[in-house]
Amino acid sequence: MFKKILIANRGEIALRIIRTAKEMGIKTVAVYSTADKDSLPVRFADEAVCIGPPSSKESYLSIPKIMAAAEITNADAIHPGYGFLSENDMFSEICAKYGIKFIGPTPDQIRKMGDKITAKDTMKKAGVPVVPGSDGLLKDVADAKKQAKKIGYPVIVKATAGGGGKGMRIVWKESEMESAFSTASMEAKASFSNDGLYMEKFIEEPRHIEIQVAGDRYGKACHLSERDCSIQRRHQKLVEESPSPFLDDKLRRKMGDAAVKAAESIAYEGVGTIEFLTDKHRNFYFMEMNTRIQVEHPVTEEVVDFDLIKEQIKIAMGDKISGKNYFPELHAMECRINAEDPRKNFSPSPGKITSFHSPKGHGVRVDTAVYAGYTIPQYYDSMIAKLICKARTREEVILKMQRALDEFIVEGIKTTIPFHKKLMKDERFRAGVFDTSFMNSFDLSDLPE
């Protein structure tokens, strides 16, 4: 049994962890930068240690400072939350070296899943379907045509050093390959000084559907079903829900079993998420694995009545998991409320919150660490609250979410609440008919208050 957990994080997830630790009778230590001196995690933790100035690099990302804080408070475990050092294999390794339990996977498991190519290979070996792709880099146009034929059109040609959507071209048929190849490689050379290209099958009408898994240190894993996170803008999730309107029982079981196979193939210890892409033909493909707790974990907690943070801590203490899988009993949806102005292209809106009232009531949960009078620091991410609603049907969840959004008052800064209000009225969203391209055609004009 841990006596004391140090939380190497901040904001709402730090508070989330403090809450569960307290319920388990475990003492908590919050580390904080000077910018977070007046934060709720600092207030509610049993102890707090200031570790540095506002910049993340000199505080929340500083392994020596966090380890020093663990040492002087005699913490026996560290919970890394999400982001920051949560998927840093060196941090996991250093904790092990100093005899402090890292509440998460082993350094090796983080490494295996952290590298996209290694992760795909590991999954292939485990018999988990992956996005079909080229064998390494494409040699030339002729090679590209040959590989595309094998994979099957449409394909996407991608820069190996790429990111941010640059150096990518979708190719629908062979006659387009020559020009796609040359423009993609020119763009890659210009943006990344590396014109290397590889190829993947282009997933049509892709939905981002992820499966929550949990594995104990004895090699057993289980799944807690899916979250549909297809509503994304620039690869940032805006809304998540469970169950997915796209899945039926059969596909859920297939994907769940694949996720368990994936986790057991590396004897995964902790909670994690296997991200899949589904296509319009109802195939699913492994995309990546997140070896940490996720922002949207409350969605699963609400539909299967499970405390995922508690499970993480229990697994880290050496408990065995039950081994059974969990299926959604209700419907739940989460809206991420960010300090951003949806009328100005979601530009950040830091500043002081002058007035704050979060919605409450039956089936409404708000995970937040802000309050009236709180000043949002500009050094960290812009998420200020997660609004999670649950009900027996998806229609009721949407009605409840609308009521809750109307009741949500945040003054002094701009938030994405108006965007969510409009989204809840959107016909395609209400029908559950959407994929990851949804936001490309969402009209951001005429947002309500």
Binding site: T34, K37, V42, D46, E47, A48, V49, C50, I51, G52, P53, K57, E58, S59, P64, K65, M67, A68, A69, E71, I72, T73, Y98
Partner: protein, 153 residues
């Protein structure tokens, strides 16, 4: 001095300053002219240890020194640049680095802050006289925690 094992909340108020101690680790002073201490990096490479970076800090903090003063006249507070355990001497049988009343100069070693078996010597950025030592030997300290009060020359 508050013991590490006391988890007490304690507020002491005085016309010039207010100390609110949550635990031994979270002492914060609301006034004072904060001057962040520069340290000589031994094994840990930390950005704020470089000459260029720390020489900027006194400029911003001197401005606040003009408007607020601690009790007893013009003093400068030296704060901890790192997290660790504060030691007044280089070794268990050795003399302390500095005592109250000592005259110090730029570069005078003031204390050691130890973390993860690495010993960091903290050097003074100012000349002056040590007025008060704010932390007990072998106590844990956090970032920005006040360590010494110095009356500058």
């Amino acid at each position: 001095m508050v013991n590490k094992n006391n988890i007490a909340e304690l507020t002491i108020e005085n016309q010039d300053f207010r100390i609110k101690i949550k635990t031994a680790l979270a002492a914060t002073y609301s006034t004072q002219a904060p001057v962040v201490m520069q340290q000589m990096p031994q094994q840990i490479a930390m950005p704020q240890m470089q000459q260029a970076a720390t020489s900027e800090k006194p400029q911003t903090t001197q401005e606040s020194a003009k408007s607020e003063e601690a009790s007893g006249g013009n003093t400068i507070t030296i704060k901890s640049p790192i997290v660790g355990t504060f030691y007044r001497s280089p070794g268990p049988d050795k003399d302390v680095f500095v005592k109250v009343g000592d005259e110090i100069g730029v570069g005078t070693k003031l204390c050691i802050i130890e973390a993860m078996k690495l010993f960091n010597e903290i050097e003074s950025e100012h000349s002056g006289r040590i007025v008060k030592i704010l932390v007990d030997d072998a106590s844990p300290v956090e970032y920005d925690q006040p360590l010494f009060l110095i009356e500058p020359k």
